[in-house]
Symmetry: C2
């Protein structure tokens, strides 16, 4: 199995992408770097490593418009997706422009049959393990059938990740059927009909961290607000804890003694642990990470892509969608 890395994508590419690829290669992942050959050779030389390179002369800058990608057939992300389309690699990982990657993936790979809108899946740490939420931001406005398709894809992803008997919660306000907004009210009966006992019912914001249902579906607007809010809150809470610990000599000593414990909690909520979000619903395994990714996040994204492709992610998504329409 071979994974193409868009080595020019991300705020700190190609430095951290090449470094992350080398870390993943040490753990046995077969990585193909896609990007400007000369610069990638330089990075490899600097880091003293060796990896195969597929040349792509152009790349999409983070500040460019997503639609730009359609005219840029020699950009690293486009070339990487073409390799996936032709079966020369088994997955594509990019820390680059999210919108451009989604647009290019849709255009080059097309959609899985039965999918109207591909969605980004994001992971939250929860009391019970992990919560898989989609859509994480690909579709700001959604219609009820999109959420049913997200649910099927989320179940397929959770199963590929090794979660036994996952269930789907519909993110809403209020637990009873009929609570929520127009979208959730229309979606509720569709999910019940499509999923039967695998539909948990409505869940609320707090259930994401409590882990009430393993898969949570919502529109991409609410999902992206939830993702960014959760990241911001964790960051601010740890800032306050650090400040509070600095406030007295006893607290400073306490913080020193408990530093390992605190570091473990911080790692648990650190987005770089997850590496990248899968774009589900396109005809190929595509993973998109934070533009601010560090080498650890790049490595984790590559490891994760390998694990999920190995678990038959794409086949499972196709089957889940086909089963919706029987």
């Amino acid at each position: 199995m071979r994974i193409a890395l868009d080595a020019m994508g991300g705020d700190r590419a190609p430095g951290v992408t090449v470094q992350g690829a080398l870390l993943a290669a040490q753990e046995g992942v077969e990585v193909l770097l896609v990007g400007e050959e000369h610069r990638l050779r330089e990075e490899l030389a600097r880091l003293g490593g060796r990896l195969p390179i597929h040349h792509a002369p152009d790349w999409i800058r983070m500040e460019e418009h997503a639609t730009e990608v359609r005219k840029r057939r020699e950009s690293s992300i486009w070339v990487a997706l073409e390799l996936l389309k032709r079966g020369e690699v088994d997955a594509v990982v990019s820390m680059g422009h999210t919108g451009a990657t989604m647009a290019a993936a849709l255009f080059v790979l097309g959609r899985v049959k039965g999918v109207e809108r591909p969605a980004l899946l994001v992971e939250f740490p929860s009391l019970k393990g992990r919560t898989f939420l989609l859509d994480g931001g690909a579709n700001a406005d959604c219609r009820p059938p999109f959420l049913v398709q997200f649910a099927a894809m989320g179940l397929a992803y959770a199963e590929a990740s090794g979660v036994p008997s996952p269930r789907v919660g519909l993110l809403s306000i209020g637990e009873e059927e009929g609570k929520g907004n127009a979208l959730t009210q229309e979606t509720y009966p569709l999910l019940r009909e499509a999923l039967g006992p695998r539909f948990f019912g409505n869940v609320e914001g707090r259930d994401i961290f409590l882990g009430t249902a393993e898969v949570v579906v919502t529109d991409g607007f609410t999902g992206n607000v939830a993702l960014k809010l959760a990241e911001g809150e964790a960051k601010v809470l740890f800032t306050w804890i650090k400040e509070a610990f600095a406030a007295s000599p006893w607290a400073r000593l306490g913080a020193f003694l408990a530093r390992g414990a605190l570091r473990r909690v911080k790692a648990r909520v650190d987005p770089s642990q997850y590496g990248a979000m899968p774009l589900l619903g396109v005809e190929g395994a595509v993973f998109i990470g934070h533009g601010s990714a560090d080498a650890l996040a790049v490595k984790n994204a590559l490891l994760r892509a390998r694990a999920l492709v190995g678990a038959g992610l794409l086949t499972r998504v196709r089957e889940a969608l086909a089963a919706l329409h029987v």
Copy 2:
């Protein structure tokens, strides 16, 4: 100034409501208990305190339907709102059924001129102090003008709370104008026109805790998801910190030494510190708290209601709405 407390509202009423009222009275708040006289006398006797009582024989149970309240003119919340309408009290505080309280307030008090939909204002702690977000859940589906009205009310509330030169952020995904969903795209130019330099532009989920803009407007669905998510995340993070601290003798000692510091951070994110959310846009000062409120939350809600009514909250809201339509 006199504040009516719906003494029968809340999961643990009238025990915690009477206790909270007595705590507030010790700090000079003039509280009028509204509810079943016999039960309130019993509670007062048990706690050894004295407070005036206005009898109301009925009350809305937490599990009842919100619409029920219209037929229950002798319920504690309805009677309390009638007292406010007649000018016999200056504010109403309830820890009871949120939906029933909103419905009764709309019916008994009516709307401030220029307000299409009253909104709940919720507070988040932020790096810079506090973020005031509305709507916190009163209106699941919103149209663009509602958000402009929320913005005006939020600014009035922030000013009454002593925030100098507050600005309004529109909760969205992506910072640039044009990013977001259909609602935010239509709302953006309206906010710019209505607020001028007091409109900050789009903010993202992370900005709520970072404190980028003092007032954040969004629809009640997204707002309520954000509120519950934030509460759930804080709860889960502190659970993990506690677990991590218990894992080794050194960490346990460290946690002991730093316990005061950690307690202060926890208090900073504890919803009971805020006591209750104002329902803005009705013709009267109404504050609605968590059903799970404890005596401290009841006390804080009463103190806060007094401070805001004293700062001319209602007049400020009326003027802010009138200024929108000049």
